[in-house]
Amino acid sequence: MIRLHNVAKVYDGGVVAVQEVSMDVRKGEFVFLVGPSGSGKSTLIRMCLREEKVTRGKIWVAGKDITKLPTWRVPYLRRTVGTIFQDFKLLPTKTVAENVAFALKVTGCPRSIVRRQVNTVLELVGLSAKTDRYPRQLSGGEQQRVSIARAFVNRPPILLADEPTGNLDPATSVGIMRLLDRINRTGTTVMMATHDFAIVDAMRRRVVQLDRGRVVRDQGESGYESSEET
């Protein structure tokens, strides 16, 4: 579902963010990207979204080589990849329902379908009672649920999450991870960058560890630290 082949990213000024990263993420898989700050986790996610262009190598997302994707096709790529961020990235002037509906409206989806799907997904994330609230009227956990609802509302085959629990307390983080786990069980591929070792240890999924832009560990059903180390 996601394939990276010898991917490298060098920023202006020669700062190397990612070097020679190769990995395959199969359909329906749940992968944690772990590693210290500056190890290249977020850059990898941004490259999979074509927010950043690769310096070298190739990335295939949902079967398409996105390194060759023309600029005008990038929005179509992003419609097939749901994204969740640490800072939620909600539109502050729109209500919960409007924020979720926005992801469908940009695709030109008819109003009746928008309404139905928004209601369904808000029920799934447990926010059907707060559809008319604005992001500022919600807790951090609730805002992240809205963000997940928006990412999932058009049923994308892939979900990319960049530190989705980074701003949340442990109890709320567990709730968010349960939600992501449920979404993953529907067949959606999830790739999540995180620092949260408790979550990684509890979930026991595939872990790709990065250090200074390189993959230093790629292990199935693992914890935050290597099984050999622990």
Binding site: T71, P75, R79, K89, L91, P92, T93, A103, V106
Partner: protein, 290 residues
């Protein structure tokens, strides 16, 4: 269709959120286009008035009633013999009244207070060379039938020589003000984009295409331009209505044809909308790339 309505809705929500900046831009466009429209109308006023004068009536010799038509005819023959005069013709009281009614057709209250007997007969003079009007004036000084002599030549001369300059200035003003309207709108849209840069980033992340993001800004710019143009047209119409009420001499008119005003108002409105479209497109060009 629902997407288009959604985008229009977004544009108006954005306008409401940036009401202060948008109002500033509307007022700036209004001033620019009102000046441009005003220049067009002023040019037309000059054209209409000089055209009237160039058609003949360089001098109007208002006559006393003494002597009646016979004495008036003698004076007309005398004036026709002047070497400076190309043509002179007599307008009796009835003719003067008809002309008065024509000129003040839109002011029936004023027309009702005047009768043909109140208006003097006159001799209208067309000169070979406008600059010789003073010679005719000298010849008539002290004539017993002369009630009043209206000379338009000086004004005509000045205005005629100014017409070309005024045309160029008017055209220059239209171009300059139009360009400033475009730049103002471009700047307003850039400010709006800057204020909403985080929102735009989010829109891009969820897969909004370039046009989906751009259209509300373009509608916003066009609305600002149309509002500015509309205000400019309204202001010029209002000023024209006020000018029309100023009592003027029989041959100087502060009014232009309503058809002219309407066609130029539509032009100004269309230009406002176009300036908004171009301005917002310019404003968007650099700042909205995926």
């Amino acid at each position: 269709m629902s997407t288009f309505l959604f985008l229009i809705g977004e544009a108006f929500v954005n306008l409401r959120r940036n009401a202060l900046v948008a109002t500033g831009a509307v007022l700036a466009v209004f001033v620019s286009l009102a000046l441009a429209f005003g220049a067009l109308v002023f040019n037309e006023l000059v054209r209409v008035n000089t055209l009237q004068w160039q058609q003949g009536d360089h001098l109007i010799i208002f006559l006393k009633d003494e002597g009646g038509p016979v004495a008036h005819s003698e004076l007309l023959a005398q004036i026709n013999d002047y070497p400076e005069v190309k043509n002179a013709w007599y307008m009796d009281k009835a003719g003067a009244y008809q002309e008065f009614l024509e000129i003040y057709s839109d002011q029936p209250a004023l027309a009702a207070t005047v009768t043909a007997a109140d208006l003097p007969a006159s001799i209208r003079v067309e000169l070979d060379d406008i600059s010789t009007y003073q010679e005719v004036q000298f010849r008539l000084v002290g004539h017993p039938l002369l009630r009043r002599l209206s000379v338009f030549s000086e004004g005509i001369e000045r205005l005629l020589s100014l017409t070309g300059v005024l045309n160029s200035i008017g055209f220059g003003l239209v171009v300059l003000m139009g360009a400033s309207a475009v730049v103002l709108i471009a700047n307003t849209i850039r400010m709006a984009i800057y204020a909403r840069r985080e929102e735009i980033a989010i829109m891009k992340l969820v897969g909004a295409g370039n046009w989906f993001i751009r259209v509300p800004f373009i509608i916003e710019g066009a609305t600002v331009g149309l509002l500015g143009g509309g205000l400019a047209a309204a202001a010029v119409f209002a000023s024209h209505n006020l000018l029309e009420r100023i009592p003027t001499d029989i041959l100087i008119r502060f009014q232009v044809d309503q058809g002219f005003l309407l066609s130029r108002a539509i032009l100004i409105l269309a230009f406002g909308g176009l300036a908004g479209f171009i301005g917002s497109s310019l404003g968007l060009r650099r700042f909205l790339r995926v």
